[in-house]
């Protein structure tokens, strides 16, 4: 039975990587939010499987928390934000998408080479996933770099957090419950603050293009 669950976790890891690439290649803000929700769902599934294999009760709780927060609540907020700010249009990326993905592949190779010695030390059931989690973190970072609008950057930040959470579960069977609760709270607060920021930015500049922020510097 364990081989099956290892394969399942690997499968979810692959899904996660694919979603990270899909977000990298996605132009539409709405689809980005949906992909983010899907990513959350994958993390939930992976966490549940790990919880089942390792019989760690608290992982079930964190899975539930993730489900409530990252699959339902935050995407809902983001959808509302998009509607209120009226930013449903496509966003052009700064670098064209195939090149971004090429760089992405290089990042994946890099992340795996980085994770290889660490996962050898780790006692986890699924050592290969650490590299994927790291790759997802880097890819989300990259997505933030290549977007010129504020909202995709927020989503990139959230996706990065998802990947970190996945790294924590797959490599060390999750952090202590308190830490996880704290992080979840942080993310929630972060989203609220960012939401407020976005409103402020859009009121100030009548646009969410972060190029305008360059005007804030003193000459």
């Amino acid at each position: 039975m364990t081989t099956l669950s290892i394969q399942l976790v690997n499968l979810f890891a692959a899904f996660l990587l694919m979603l990270a690439f899909a977000m990298l290649a996605q132009r539409r803000v709405l689809s980005l939010v949906n992909l983010y929700a899907l990513q959350g769902l994958t993390v939930v599934a992976a966490t549940t499987v790990v919880a089942h294999v390792t019989h760690q009760q608290h992982l079930y709780y964190s899975a539930g928390l993730t489900l409530a927060l990252k699959v339902c609540f935050i995407p809902w907020i983001l959808h509302r934000l998009i509607k209120r700010l009226n930013v449903r249009w496509d966003v052009e990326t700064l670098i064209n998408i195939p090149s971004t993905m090429l760089v992405g592949i290089v990042l994946v190779v890099f992340a795996f080479n980085l994770a290889l010695p660490i996962s050898k030390l780790s006692s986890s059931v699924v050592p290969g996933t650490l590299g994927i989690a790291l790759a997802c973190v880097l890819l989300s970072f990259m997505m933030m770099i290549t977007r010129s609008k504020a909202l995709p950057q927020v989503i990139g930040f959230l996706a990065m957090e998802n990947a970190l959470f996945f790294a924590a579960t797959s490599a060390t069977y999750g952090m202590p419950m308190v830490v996880e609760l704290g992080i979840a709270l942080d993310v929630l607060v972060g989203v609220f603050i960012l939401g407020v920021f976005l409103f402020q930015i859009s009121e100030q500049f009548e646009s969410l293009d972060i190029h305008h922020l360059e005007n804030l510097k003193e000459d």
């Binding site: 394969q7 690997n10 692959a14 899904f15 190779v109 994927i132």
Partner: protein
């Protein structure tokens, strides 16, 4: 004897069923658009009509132009013959493995592009250029998909891959997630479906496949249409063989065929529905988004191979 029989039905089934698959896709698309549709036998009527008509050929056509429909038909039929559709017991499959299969598709593509350039009309050359544009990205993408699968089966022979995936112990392969996504994109592009090409229009801004066969008529056009449906069938069965191989028989005994045939029919029906839904719900891409679309497929295929090696499954 079963070998020959098995090969025989794997050639006859595509010839007979391929137009029906096309008819089924069109029927579902019609239903989704709230039309009643022409029925799944419409492509057969179409072929019959075209075969009965006279062929009109441009006076400037070279012999190449005349022979291409037959060559295309031969290429696609051979492609169908080596893909394990019903059983993996195919003697012809030893002649061509997965790489040769891609080569076969490439051969057909080059023939059709050259035939389109032969007459020397503006549409023909434009279609040829676009077809090659789709091809030069779709072909390596398909290769990477097949390589992801062949890394699992430790073989490039399609029958061995299918046996490895379907008949050995059950396992989940993460690399196939990527390969599957890439394959869907390649499938849409290679069979001239929305969002890459629209099989239903003749708009010069968008058409690819229709521009290629614009100068054909009568029996030559019929062969070209039949070839197109054979290609759709080949890609569908290739997808089934790689990603949903359960039910494909190892030996072509009558009893195992009794399982294989209905399961194939079921899977093809499903693929038809999915294809129609995808086509109905997506919009045609601008022609210069197409390389991006295919580059995505290509890179997904590469990531598929990478994950296989990285996760070590």
């Amino acid at each position: 004897m079963t070998k020959v029989f098995s090969q025989f039905i794997s050639i006859v089934t595509p010839i007979l069923l391929a137009p029906m698959l096309l008819g089924w896709v069109n029927q579902v698309r019609a239903w989704l658009a709230n039309r009643s549709g022409a029925g799944i036998f419409q492509p057969y009527r179409m072929l019959h009509k075209l075969f009965n008509k006279d062929s009109v050929m441009a006076s400037t056509a070279s012999p190449l132009f005349r022979f291409v429909p037959y060559l295309m038909f031969g290429c696609m039929l051979l492609a169908n013959a080596i893909i394990p559709t019903l059983s993996t017991d195919l003697p012809l499959a030893s002649a061509a493995d997965a790489i040769a299969l891609v080569g076969l598709f490439a051969l057909a593509r080059i023939f059709i592009s050259l035939a389109a350039m032969d007459i020397g009309t503006a549409f023909g050359t434009m279609g040829a250029r676009r077809e090659m544009l789709v091809g030069f990205l779709a072909e390596p993408a398909l290769l990477t998909v097949l390589f992801s699968a062949s890394l699992i089966g430790q073989s490039t022979s399609l029958t061995t891959i299918v046996e490895a995936v379907a008949h050995k112990h059950f396992a989940i392969y993460p690399s196939l997630v990527f390969a599957g996504m890439a394959f869907i994109l390649v499938f849409l592009a290679e069979n001239s479906r929305v969002p890459v090409d629209n099989p239903a229009t003749h708009l010069e801004l968008t058409m690819i496949h229709e521009a290629l066969i614009l100068e054909y008529s009568g029996r030559h056009l019929a062969l070209m249409e039949w070839t197109a449906s054979l290609k759709l069938f080949a890609y569908s069965t290739l997808g089934i063989a790689l990603f949903l191989p359960w039910g494909i028989a190892q030996k072509a005994t009558p009893s195992s065929l009794l399982v294989a045939l209905p399961s194939l029919a079921l899977k093809l029906t499903l693929i038809g529905v999915v294809l129609a839904v995808v086509e109905t719900f997506s919009a045609k891409l601008r022609i210069f988004r197409v390389p991006e679309f295919l580059a995505t497929a290509f890179l997904l295929g590469v990531i598929g191979m990478l994950t296989h090696i990285l996760l070590g499954t």
